[in-house]
């Protein structure tokens, strides 16, 4: 990639990235579960300046009908970017890019969901990027996993996701905008933390096998940190529910 007008002179200055982070440091991460009352489950997530919103509906009746699967739930993820989420206004509606991202997100989440518990139903995951500053698809997956859990949909595990890459020959975690635009490689990854099963892997750029190995390890470690934030967000929302459930568990009233 050559230098474009507007490209920064350097992405790494005095051993630090342009936003002051260390190479293996995540941007500040805030996760909140249960932000859309109408949805069965929802999540808002902020990673640096990237903001995503996820609403989950399901399990519910299948629509369109032809998507019905007899022995499990159909899963559909729709990823979109709000018109004002990018520097240049994004035209509303799906693009080839957003359609592909929708599909890889579904592929990243499906292994974690016990789809077979919900035959002949549909689980809809609606994702909207409200402010984009790189890492949107991985932020979307992280938030969607929280939203699915918030909806009470049975899952084997959560899914945590992050992107890592190479900038000026250095391997770094969680690329933000200038690094994503002007770096040498970008590799989004998603993982189910319990068994470290990888459910999303994409890469574009130029990496040696050794670099890939290091990036995968860096990302998996970061996913564990992200998982702790997901867990905390969910426990924060549900922490107070236990007292009422205590009464029910005691006398088994139904």
């Amino acid at each position: 990639m050559g230098k474009h007008a507007g490209a920064p002179d350097k992405l790494i200055v005095s051993g630090k990235r342009l936003d002051g982070r260390k190479f293996n440091e995540l941007r500040p991460l805030t996760i909140k579960a249960g932000v859309i009352p109408n949805a069965d489950g929802s999540c808002s997530l902020q990673l640096g300046e990237t903001q995503v919103l996820v609403g989950v509906y399901g399990p519910r009746e299948v629509f369109p009908r032809h998507m019905t699967i007899q022995d499990r739930a159909a899963l559909e993820c729709i990823y979109g970017m709000a018109a004002f989420s990018t520097s240049d206004r994004a035209r509303p509606g799906p693009s080839r890019r957003s359609t592909e991202i929708s599909k890889v997100i579904a592929d990243a989440l499906a292994p974690a969901i016990m789809l077979e518990k919900y035959p002949r139903t549909k689980i809809d995951v609606y994702i909207e990027v409200m402010n984009a500053n790189a890492g949107t698809r991985t932020a979307a997956i992280t938030a969607a996993a929280v939203a699915l859990a918030d909806a009470g949909i049975e899952m084997r595990d959560l899914v945590a996701s992050v992107a890592a890459g190479k900038i000026e020959d250095e391997l770094v975690l969680d690329l933000f905008e200038p690094e994503d635009n002007y770096g040498e490689a970008d590799m989004p990854l998603a993982m189910m933390p319990r068994k470290k099963d990888i459910t999303l892997l994409q890469m574009d750029g130029n990496l040696s096998p050794e670099e890939i190995k290091k990036l995968i390890e860096m990302s998996m470690k970061a996913c564990e940190e992200i998982y702790e934030a997901q867990k905390a967000a969910l426990k924060e929302k549900y922490k107070v529910s236990s007292e009422s459930v205590e009464e029910e568990a005691e006398d088994g009233a139904a």
Binding site: I78, F84, D88, Y126
Partner: protein, 258 residues
């Protein structure tokens, strides 16, 4: 649904709503400024559980041939499926288009924006103001929440630098120039069911009501735009009554914008 409608009408007979409000009470309304850094101006409005985010993006383009010295306003609404279980993904349908056009008229017809001031070079370059409306949760009355968020987002809008030589908008460089609004128009929408009128309906009331009337009013009591929706009807007396109420309610809501 019939039982719910009868219930709502019976309560309105005594001037009450099913959530305890009086007929003309709004729910709790809150306004948050600039939640979206990428937008040139933005706002989040909550009315009860209804939540809408509006972002303004500015661009530079050729003016329309019939208004060669005026900027352009484009309002769009995306009824996001996450906000309401009945919304389907896809291009904007009639409800989304009506919402965006009603909000548009409330701003445009009020003349709160001097479109001449958005002209950079007559016949060649003008500012285009995109207003994009995104409901996050629909608990009724998206019209008022969207209009309030839209006008607040416009009020918060700061112009990025426009490089005339390169004909490029430099989004990362902000100027000190703010969007000038001569005044703030406010949209208030009223519902009608069983002969009773009420303000700021929630989703249950919206499903049960026969008709709605939206009125955009100005601080001086003038009316900029109106829109009737739904299969029911209004009498002349009801309309005039609502126009008066719109001005009163508009004043209350206008105070929330800082």
């Amino acid at each position: 649904m019939e039982q719910l409608k009868a219930h709502i009408i019976a309560l309105l007979e005594k001037g009450k709503r099913h959530d305890g409000r009086d007929a003309m009470d709004y729910r709790e309304v809150s306004v948050e400024n600039n939640p979206i850094p990428r937008a040139n101006g933005s706002a989040r409005v909550k009315m009860g559980n209804t939540e809408v985010i509006v972002g303004v993006k500015l661009d530079v383009d050729v003016p329309f041939p019939d208004t060669p010295e005026e900027g352009i306003l484009m309002v769009n609404a995306e009824l996001m499926p996450m906000s309401n279980p009945d919304f389907e993904p896809g291009p904007p349908r009639a409800e989304a288009i009506e919402l965006s056009r009603v909000v548009d008229r409330g701003i445009r017809e009020s003349s709160c924006i001097d479109f001449g001031k958005l002209c950079i070079k007559p016949k060649e370059k003008v500012w285009v103001v995109f207003v994009d409306i995104y409901p996050i949760n629909d608990d009724g009355n998206l019209l008022d929440a969207s209009a309030l968020a839209a006008i607040t987002a416009l009020k918060n809008t700061v112009f990025p630098k426009y490089d005339e030589k390169e004909d490029a908008v430099l989004y990362k460089e902000l100027t000190k120039k703010k969007m000038e609004l001569e005044f703030i128009p406010i949209l208030t929408t009223f519902g009608k069911v069983g002969g009773h009128l009420f303000a700021d309906f929630d989703l249950l009331e919206q499903h049960s009501m026969d008709a709605r009337l939206s009125i955009s009013c100005l601080p001086d009591g003038g009316i900029a735009a109106m829109q009737k929706g739904g299969f029911g009807t209004f009498t002349e007396e009801e309309i005039l009554n609502l126009v008066d109420l719109a001005v009163i309610k508009g004043k209350e809501i206008r105070k929330l914008i800082k």
